[in-house]
């Protein structure tokens, strides 16, 4: 990142290739949140300002993380995993005992769900596991069973909360790491076939009624336009009515007249698309493409297995958020409570995604500074 001679070294050393697109996206998100504000005419309150605040705080955190050496990550992997698993269990138990469903910790300026932190940490711990696993064993049961165990325990706890969206995100990141770790392809094909067989069974036995309803409604939203299909229908109306150029800043009737539910969180993309049109949508997709491509480049250009798996897993986690959220708002996936990274309002998702970004920054830094990796 040699930007020029007259730029101070500490500034020039920062990973501007990711900070710039990311900041652009966050500011664009803030503009959408400004417009979506319940205050007529748009306002920084209650969302846009906090959104930017979250971003800059967590960006600072990510830049600090980026300076951590690789060994710190390796050392911290298992203890962090254990810590978050314990807090996940504790919060779950507290929720049960308290009779309510308080599954978050209050950090003062924001609330945090341990399950949220589990998304990057599961990637970290699996990267650590495969890093330490002798290559010869990756094709053996010992390459799979411990990893599956590491995944199954937190995933099970999150599912019983029940938070299907987060559980899927955890699983997706983990499965991508396991896949990239080089386990035999036929296992994945077999697992895929098994899942195809098990899915109908799970659909009718494991899922909660409301989850099952969401799936059936996703398949036919017009069947229930005023009930649960309402979300999908209204979101498609918002995106579709925006057209190519959009209705213009703060002119979106769907979001301003409350037809679009969750217009500042899960359905923020629909809010954006109504006012900025397909142009805005392509812009968002482009920025995500830049961010994800950067992430995959960091992964592929890394020389060591741990960094490769870690970076690819982090990228996959971000990708999962983006893909599921956008598919949901466009009616290609059932409604699951997954926000759009860097655009949706919400501290937890911003924290998770910035941890992913910070880790990727660190990985990029290791490659640049690190000489030969054994």
């Amino acid at each position: 990142m040699a930007l020029g001679y007259n730029i101070p070294d500490p500034v020039a050393r920062q990973p501007w290739g990711i900070i710039l697109p990311l900041t652009t996206l966050v500011l664009f998100g803030a503009a959408v949140l400004y417009s979506a504000s319940p205050v007529p005419g748009g306002s920084l309150r209650p969302w846009a300002l906090i959104h930017m605040l979250h971003y800059f705080v967590f960006l600072a955190m990510a830049l600090v993380m980026a300076r951590f050496p690789r060994d710190w990550f390796k050392l911290a992997a298992y203890p962090l995993y254990g810590l978050i698993l314990v807090s996940l269990v504790l919060v779950e138990l507290m929720g049960k005992i308290g009779g309510g469903s308080q599954r978050w910790l209050n950090l003062g300026f924001m609330t945090l769900q341990p399950s949220e932190l589990m998304k990057p940490v599961i990637v970290l711990v699996l990267a650590r596991f495969y890093d330490s696993l002798p290559p010869a064993m990756t094709a053996s049961w010992r390459g799979l069973v411990p990893a599956a165990g590491l995944l199954a325990i937190p995933a099970a706890f999150v599912i019983i909360q029940p938070d299907l969206g987060t559980a899927l995100a955890i699983c997706f990141g983990a499965v991508v790491v396991i896949f990239l770790a080089g386990l035999p392809l036929r296992w994945f094909i077999g697992a895929g076939l098994a899942a195809a067989v098990a899915a109908p069974v799970a659909f009718f036995s494991l899922l909660h009624d409301y989850q099952r309803k969401r799936v059936t409604i996703f398949l036919d939203p017009e069947n229930d336009p005023l009930g649960a299909g309402y979300h999908i229908t209204q979101s498609k109306i918002a995106i579709g009515s925006g057209g190519f150029f959009g209705k213009g800043f703060s002119n979106g009737s769907q979001s301003h007249l409350d037809y679009l539910p969750e217009s500042h969180t899960d359905f923020v993309f629909a809010t954006m698309a109504e006012e900025w049109g397909m142009l805005g949508g392509l812009f968002v997709l482009l920025v995500f493409a830049v961010i994800l491509r950067w992430g995959m480049t960091v992964a592929r250009s890394s020389n060591d297995r741990f960094t490769q798996l870690l970076a690819a897993g982090m990228t996959a986690t971000i990708f999962f958020y983006v893909a599921i959220n956008l598919m949901m708002v466009m009616g290609l996936a059932p409604v699951v409570g997954i926000p759009l990274p860097f655009v949706s309002h919400g501290g937890s998702s911003m924290l998770t995604n910035m941890i992913c970004i910070g880790t990727l920054m660190a990985a990029e830094r290791w490659r640049k500074r690190g000489g030969s990796i054994p």
Partner: protein, 753 residues
């Protein structure tokens, strides 16, 4: 559990020994040795890395292969990400560009709410342009069932703000239970500004509550026009199904439910106005976009004389009966009253429990329009008609018949109510002598009289808007054969000749008959002003023949006849008439005392002025006993009202003092008594259909009663008849009711010899 993988030959022995774990069980012989067990606890990096190359078995898994695998698979992952990215972009293009128009429309229909403004309903006017039904501006509160979030809390708060009583809240709950979906339910109308404003300011907290300023139907004379005009109310689910027009479920819109309101719905309704507003998802109005004014419905002008209609209805008083007044020049109906009636003003918001109970428990059957649907044996009011029929069949009006106090038919003796001596036709009408008409009917046969009865309008249905008519029975031999498969008997003729037996007519038919006799023209009744019906075929009577009937009727009132108590003389204007007393059923005692239901019906037909008839009238008072006692005085006052309203109003004012006020006041008092007595305990009101069913059952009941009578009745009204003396010769009179049990016993009173 182990991977059966042959260890490659030629590996260093120590490596084999140390890394048994990598390929456990490949040598069965070594399994038993405990020292060969792998040390699971030791997962040190160095150990693995050190041994890694040695593990390159048949699959050759090494750092290098894993690196290659990662490279290949990360390309797959990247490609998948890119693929999904392209898919998302394509999907967005599909929704936002290709289907843009469709979603634009949907967003617009979300955003813009078209509120219909109920049109002002056309007025219903009397012949002089005075309103019988009008609209008054009104503040109203409606509830929309589908939009209510917390029904009970909303009813509670609305009730509190509107200061509703427990009874009113119960009625509101009933209406909400019955209403479907977006069908609005009126919580209150005719509100004062304070109560309206109290609800208006709470609207943001009350989803599903609509407060608006509009118009509501108003009937200035209330019960007097109830049966004629009908009433309006919110459209029922069935009506909406029949006509799925959004206007029908617009708060404040009322549809004609009965009578003329229902018949002229299309003309009266008008075109709704519209108001386009921008609304939020929760229905809150953000701003007005534009609006269109309503087109008021057309007004309808009737032949009815409003004040006369009101006077007639009020003059019936606490009796149960009907009055029909017809204009002898045009056939236009000037008044058509049936009492007791419901107050259409109190039905516009639906029938409440107490009103329902009141209407249902009244043995005077307020839901029945007696003028059109009540059927009664006409009694002696048939005699002028019969005199015309007899003259047509060659009976000379000057022929005298001696009345010895009855008529002998074979072994039976038909008793007249007095010994009239020798009477000609005019005298027979004047004194209502049965013997004369029995004698003559026996001579010409009833089949000669029935066609004349029909010619004069009896047994006919007229083309009139509004409630359907019942046309009763004018019997003849063919009819009896068809209906009962029996031969017509002479006794049947004698009964029918004096308006008993199988004969039943409606008050409207009686009025038409009177108008036709009085004018000598074949008038057809009409109700729409300016739309007089053309005359029917000319009547075959000569002026001389009509004069006989006229003379007879003149003498009934002005001579020494049965109606002489009801004589009028207003500046030379006199009235001619005929009394009728119709027996309701076989009686043990005479029909002017005993329980109300078995007393005789009291009838009177009349016209005035006597030289050239202008007004013809029929009055029927159910169970009013003698025609001269109940019906004739009412007819006299109504006729007086037509020529001298001030005098007639004075009479009415005095009478109403004794009755407890005007019909509206009496109904209000009765409602109050019911409210105090039953409170909220009255049973629930059924759907509109139940009201209709109740009306129909009222009809049926009436029919049974009407056809129950057979015995000829005395026409003389004695101020205090001696019950024993007059009852004795009549008892017991065996009769049967024709609809249920036809039989030969159906004869006039049989006197034992």
């Amino acid at each position: 559990m182990g991977q059966k993988r042959p260890a490659p030959e030629g590996l260093p022995q120590e490596g084999r020994w140390r890394r048994r774990a990598a390929c456990p069980g490949n040598r069965p012989g070594q399994r038993a040795t405990s020292s060969q067990r792998p040390s699971w606890g030791n997962h040190g990096d160095t150990t693995y890395r050190h041994l890694a190359p040695m593990n390159a078995d048949s699959r050759h898994v090494s750092s290098g292969t894993l690196k290659n695998s990662f490279d290949r698979r990360s390309v797959v992952i990247g490609a998948m990400q890119g693929g999904i990215g392209v898919l998302l972009a394509a999907r967005m293009g599909w929704i936002a560009v290709l289907e843009n128009e469709k979603y634009k429309l949907e967003a617009e229909s979300n955003r813009v709410n078209l509120t219909l403004v109920p049109p002002r309903r056309g007025w219903i006017l009397d012949r002089n342009g005075a309103p019988l039904a009008s609209n008054k501006t009104d503040f109203r509160i409606d509830l929309i069932p589908d939009r209510l979030v917390d029904k009970d809390a909303t009813i509670q708060l609305v009730g509190q703000l509107l200061k509703l009583t427990a009874i009113e809240i119960q009625d509101l709950r009933d209406k909400l239970d019955k209403a479907h979906g977006f069908q609005p339910v009126e919580a209150a109308s005719g509100l004062d500004w304070d109560r309206f404003a109290a609800v208006s300011v709470h609207l943001p907290d009350l989803p599903g509550v609509v407060a608006q300023r509009g118009f509501s139907r108003f009937y200035p004379t209330g019960p007097a026009v109830g049966h004629l005009i009908g009433y309006v109310g919110p459209a029922s689910a069935q009506e909406y199904e029949k006509e799925p027009n959004p206007l029908l479920v617009t708060p404040g819109f009322k549809i004609g439910k009965d009578g003329l309101e229902k018949h002229f719905e299309a003309e009266l309704r008008g075109e709704p106005g519209a108001r386009r507003v921008e609304v939020t998802a929760s229905g809150k109005i953000v701003r007005d976009l534009n609006s269109r004014d309503d087109v008021p419905g057309k007004s309808i002008k009737l032949t009815i004389d409003g004040p006369l209609q009101d006077y007639a209805a009020r003059r019936i008083g606490i009796e149960s009966g009907a009055v029909v007044v017809i204009d002898c020049m045009t056939g236009g109906i000037l008044a058509i009253a049936s009492m007791p009636a419901f107050d259409p003003n109190s039905l516009v918001d639906g029938i409440s429990r107490l009103e329902w109970k009141m209407l249902n428990e009244d043995d005077h059957i307020p839901l029945l329009n007696k003028a059109l649907r009540g059927l009664y044996p006409p009694g002696s009011t048939m005699k002028p008609m019969a005199s015309l029929a007899l003259q047509l069949h060659g009976v000379s009006p000057d022929e005298h018949v001696f009345c010895p106090g009855g008529y002998r038919l074979g072994s039976r003796f038909f008793r007249c109510d007095a010994v009239h001596g020798s009477l000609d036709m005019r005298g027979a009408i004047e004194h209502s002598c049965n013997t004369y008409f029995w004698t003559m009917a026996h001579r010409v046969g009833y089949d000669a009289i029935a066609p004349v009865a029909r010619l004069l309008g009896l047994g006919q249905e007229f083309e009139l808007p509004g409630a359907k008519q019942r046309y009763g029975t004018i019997p003849d031999a063919a009819w009896k054969m068809r209906r009962y498969h029996q031969e017509w008997s002479v006794a049947d003729s004698l009964n029918a000749a004096i308006g008993q037996g199988y004969v039943s007519v409606s008050p409207l038919q009686l009025a038409v008959m009177t108008a036709r006799i009085a004018s000598g023209r074949n008038l057809l009744p009409s109700l729409l002003a300016g739309h007089a019906k053309p005359l029917g075929p000319a009547l075959p009577f000569t002026p001389e023949q009509l004069a006989v009937a006229h003379d007879g009727m003149f003498r009934v009132v002005n001579g020494s006849g049965t109606g002489r108590g009801s004589r009028i003389d207003i500046g030379g204007i006199q009235m001619a008439g005929k009394t009728g007393t119709a027996q309701v059923r076989a009686l043990v005692s005479r029909g002017h005392f005993g329980d109300w239901k078995s007393r005789d019906h009291s009838l009177f037909i009349c016209y005035a002025p006597t030289d050239t008839a202008r007004y013809a009238m029929a009055v029927v008072i159910e169970h009013g006993t003698f025609g001269a006692r109940a019906a004739a005085p009412i007819a006299k006052d109504i006729m007086t009202y037509l020529f001298d309203p001030a005098t007639a109003l004075d009479v009415l004012a005095n009478l109403e003092k004794g009755w407890g006020g005007t019909p509206a006041e009496r109904m209000a008092a009765r409602y109050k008594a019911y409210a105090a007595q039953y409170g909220t305990s009255a049973p629930k009101v059924e759907e509109d259909e139940a009201v209709k069913a109740a009306e129909d059952s009222a009809d049926t009941q009436n029919e049974t009663v009407a056809n129950d009578a057979t015995s000829p009745q005395p026409e003389k009204y004695e101020p205090s008849p001696s019950p024993n003396a007059s009852a004795e010769p009549h008892s017991p009179s065996p009769t049967a009711s024709p609809p249920t049990k036809p039989g030969p016993t159906k004869t006039p009173t049989q006197e034992p010899q």
